[in-house]
Amino acid sequence: MTVRERTNTVNTKSSIAGVAAAAAVAALLLAGCSSQPAPSSSSAPSEPASAALSGAVAADGSSTVGPLAEAAADQFRSIESGVQVTVGISGTGGGFKTFCAGETDISNASRPIKDEEAQTCADAGIEFTEIVIANDGLSVVVNPENDWAQCLTVEQLHTIWAPESEGVITNWNQVDPSFPDVPLTLYGAGTDSGTFDYFTGEINGEEGASRTDYSPTEDDNVTIQGVSGELGALGYFGLSYLEENPDVIKGVEIDGGDGCVFPTTETVQDGTYTPLGRPLFIYVANASYADKPQVKAFVDYWVENAVATAEAALYVPLTAEQITTAQEELASIG
């Protein structure tokens, strides 16, 4: 192996270690110094709102709302090219964590803020305003060759997805006696996603309660491939995926108690597609909105153009009424 020279090692050993330690400390110090100008704090509050704006707008949160924020920022860039809007997708919960630590101006969320999250924000002195920025629909999809499941009731979906059904409900004829003898294979959202929380909350009555013997995936395209390849398959995901892939999968009408309704833009917007239609939120920090003209300009622009951004990101746009409500909410921040 290597040479060990007892005579010389003592001094050199310590000196090398010292050099290495000094280098490490220097590196850390350098890094620490450069941490000061955080993007979200590099604003110019004194600037009048009418002039060309600059500064940064930091948004983070739900990966469901991410594409919406991206679309809004993309369009906003064409009128205010000096503003740097950034979007992260650390998840609804992760977004609230950084939001309540004062690191972001806008938190994207696919569900309303939880009480404990709101408490964290309150403890940190972060006041916020909740705004519905688009509508989202979950669609239940089956194979195009499936000619029996035109419409499923919430009870039938519960029978299919309930935690108790694990290993028990494995055939379509167990869901309803009129259904044929075809094995049932399931695709759904991964347990970390807002889609999973939303679906399980509405169908199984408790967020996170679901059978586990299905193929979970964060990538909805996997669900499309699985469902399109198997006669007895059933899956669920965002409405946009159904509208983008009308040839390979088939949407199922949902009966939430008032008859069968097919998931479309219109039925989600007018609220008849229940319970799998939902609002998507952004949470705006009041302080950012009031003190940073670029944040105010961006949020105002987003709400004003909520229809265009939702269509660009393949979501269900707000109704005129919802836009008015959002604008009133913002006006109240002052």
């Binding site: 590196a27 983070d60 979007v87």
Partner: protein, 301 residues
């Protein structure tokens, strides 16, 4: 690692044959099994690479390098991701390479290897090399939270996580390279009156540079492909500016690929495939450089 193993088995069985030993049934069957495994692994790799090229080739144009992410796939590009990857990897190299080499030189040339403390460090370095990358992301996140760093989406933060990720790999590679330098070189230098420090800096370390460079480049190419720790540290998916410093916000190619793959529009999938091709090309180039350095400069004693 696996290829070395197979190579050795093949070598041995061939050696067995040339030594005149009869070619018995079971080693041959084992050999066929190994080749079969290799074939399957290679088949999957080829299928993956080919489908990625088929999907992304049409989108592999100048827009990928000049455009920023956008809501419409036709207008979107990976410019900030490409630049962000360069910034992050450059910073990672600056952090990890000097520290890694210094640590390896200390452990290999100076430290007393019988000391229990040094042996614990050695075992730890070996183990750290096998830890999933996300853990380094979490470690960085909690360390920064303790230090009170508010904004984590900065080039140096991402680089810090990746530097910690590849530090053990660099240390191990450097130690291997140092170990391959014959002891006669050291003894010769020491016999002529050089101190151990002089011997290390002027003889041992230069002789080990090809091995160190190879290991370092391979480690950096691993860091280049990482998305998980950076996503955890708030890696962005939409930004319309080029990273311009250590404290700048950033995104990297793997993050951008991850984001685009999850979109419903086919255009984004093509974009993700095109970016994957670019990433693959860069990685192959880095590996090629590592191989060239090894073949060119490696000395055989």
């Amino acid at each position: 690692m696996a290829t070395y193993g197979i190579g050795r088995v093949v070598e041995r069985s061939l050696a067995g044959r040339s030594r005149g030993g009869e070619l018995s049934f079971r080693p041959v069957l084992f050999l066929i099994g190994l080749w079969f495994c290799l074939f399957f692994a290679l088949l999957f790799l080829v299928v993956l690479v080919v489908t990625t090229f088929v999907d992304g080739a049409g989108r592999l144009d100048l827009r990928l390098f000049t455009e920023y992410p956008a809501a419409a796939p036709e207008r979107a590009g990976a410019r900030p991701a490409i630049l962000g990857s360069l910034w992050v990897i450059g910073t990672t190299a600056l952090m990890a390479v000097p520290l890694g080499i210094a640590a390896a030189v200390h452990l290999e040339e100076f430290a007393d290897q019988k000391n229990w403390f040094n042996r614990i460090i050695e075992i730890n370095v070996q183990n750290l090399a096998a830890i999933p990358s996300i853990v380094y992301g979490m470690l960085t996140l909690s360390a920064l939270a303790l230090l009170g760093v508010a904004n984590k989406n900065m080039v140096w933060v991402g680089a810090l996580a990746l530097a910690m990720l590849i530090l053990p790999v660099i240390i191990i590679a450097t130690r291997e390279a140092l170990r391959a330098v014959p002891r006669e070189i050291r003894q010769g230098s020491l016999a002529l009156g050089a101190t151990l420090l002089q011997t290390t800096l002027r003889n041992t370390l230069p002789a080990a540079i090809p091995g160190i460079a190879t290991g370092t480049i391979l480690a950096l190419s691993r860091a280049l492909g990482e998305a998980a720790p950076l996503l955890l540290l708030g890696g962005l998916v939409y930004l319309t500016f080029d990273p311009n410093g250590l404290a700048s916000g950033y995104t990297t190619m793997p993050i951008q690929i991850f984001n685009w793959t999850g979109r419903p529009q086919d255009g984004f999938h093509e974009l993700a495939a095109a970016t994957s091709i670019l990433l693959l090309v860069i990685l192959v180039a880095m590996n090629a450089i590592a191989i060239i350095i090894r073949n060119r400069f490696q000395k055989r004693w």
